[in-house]
């Protein structure tokens, strides 16, 4: 008996079950996530329009969070493939804020630098950089920067479309900057400080 316990204590577990993970995700999610209420029914995975491209169904991902599989969960492409359609959210019998949990997981993955493909995180970051710089989104700048980096081969296919957008004045070539950009920057700076300490 004592031997067994000693053995258990000395042998490192194959995978560390990080039981704080579920609570951390829940805590970092906007509103009351209700993540701990999941009954693993699969309504989310069944509802998801882009499930085919996901590593794990949302349900599976939540099971992984529960099991404390931090690395695997944050590496999953599932949150990045989520299209925020909210079908799962309104159908979830336990009213889990699934889409918002996905946002949280993206943020945590970026923080931990755990993702397989940088396309999506880069896109989000580029978008946010522009918004932080101008106060408005800047599609032309975003598109050029993004496509050059991630889809250079797709550009020929895209050219007619891009041209169409430009010729129909549906894409501005120069960014618009809001008047209160200083104010916005101050707000965001403080927000980041608050985020870091909470």
């Amino acid at each position: 008996m004592q031997n067994m316990e000693q053995e258990r204590a000395s042998a490192p577990p194959k995978q560390i079950e990080d039981l704080s993970l579920l609570g951390e995700v829940s805590h970092r999610t906007a509103g009351v996530s209700r993540l701990e209420m999941c009954i693993q029914c699969g309504t989310c995975g069944g509802s998801c329009p882009s499930e085919a491209d996901m590593d794990h169904t949302p349900r599976m991902l939540f099971a992984m969070l529960r099991a404390g599989m931090r690395h695997a969960a944050l590496m999953s492409n599932t949150p990045w493939i989520c299209v925020s359609c909210y079908h799962c959210v309104v159908r979830c019998p336990q009213n889990v804020h699934i889409a918002d949990v996905m946002y949280t997981l993206k943020g945590m993955a970026i923080e931990a630098k755990l993702y397989q493909d940088s396309t999506a995180p880069d896109f989000s970051q580029t978008f946010v950089d522009m918004v932080e710089e101008y106060g408005r989104s800047f599609e032309f700048g975003l598109a050029t920067r993004h496509y050059l980096k991630h889809f250079p081969l797709r550009l020929p296919n895209m050219a007619p479309m891009g041209l169409g957008m430009l010729s129909k004045h549906r894409m501005n070539i120069t960014p618009t900057r809001i008047k209160g950009i200083g104010q916005l920057k101050a707000i965001l700076k403080r927000a980041k400080e608050v985020e870091a300490t909470s």
Partner: protein
Amino acid sequence: MSDSYILYPGCSMESSARAYYDSLKAIAGIIDLRLQEIDDWNCCGATEYLGIKLTPAYALISRNLALAAQQANGTRTVVAPCSACYLNLAKADYYMQEQPVLGQHVNEALAAGGLSYKPGSLDIRHLLDVLVYDIGLDTIKSKVVRPLTGLRVAPYLGCMVPRPDYEHRWSDYEYPVELDLLLNALGAEVIEFPLKTECCGGHMTQISPDTAFELIRRLISAADSHQADIMTTVCPMCQMNLDAYQSETNKKFNTSFRMPIVFFTQLMGLAFGLDAKDLGFGQELVSARNALAKIGIEHPAEAPAGTAKPKKDGSLPMPAPLPPRNMHVVGKDKVAK
């Protein structure tokens, strides 16, 4: 109808969705919809900022709420024509109430810009909601001078208008009827579009195009199989994805769809007798020319598809449809002002 609304246009309205803004401005006077734009509003962060950092994302959104509340002149309704903007504003307002600590953090940040916002002090509504429930279908109908008779329209709402619907403003999460009713009021032939709240792919066109193209294909193909002449949408992102990426989608799946995608305000303008040019027609990449020609020609209304009336063939009766959640509002009291 004298109240004015605070308008949060959102970035797309000034670029990719100019047709939406143009047509909205064109019809607003006709239906006495008074909009005052939030002064110096900023981007809502779309679906991107939320996935990076929580407090900054909500602070970004809330700067707009704070400005709107400041500017609110006896009114408390903020109208957003863009689905993502509408959802972000509504979401921030709702979550800051559900989780007060979020509201505190956001207000700490806003204070750095000399602003503050008390969650719950504004009503965040989508343009379609205001048109159907405040302006009212009767008013809209009364302004129709060129009914869209014979135009088969696929009503398409996408995701973020009917869902998650924090304040229960819509008749259903999956099959809301508001857009159908409005198009009916314009005289259009509205098809029962089963995918009306399915996803257009969102930002997947940028980060995982194959995922997006499949979703676009589903929508266009369903509208096409219902013989829609045109598809109408209430969201800049949906319009952009279905219109601008239609040809790439065709290429991928070896199809040849030519489904024009326009904003519902453009169709309203047409029915109100306005010039198509002033409504932003021509800005769409898949041309709506043929669809417009169809109204010009004035076809006699096609016989409606066979209804489910029980026949003498031994078939079993169907249950009556359930009145939608908010149907009472659609019906009378609120609409008939």
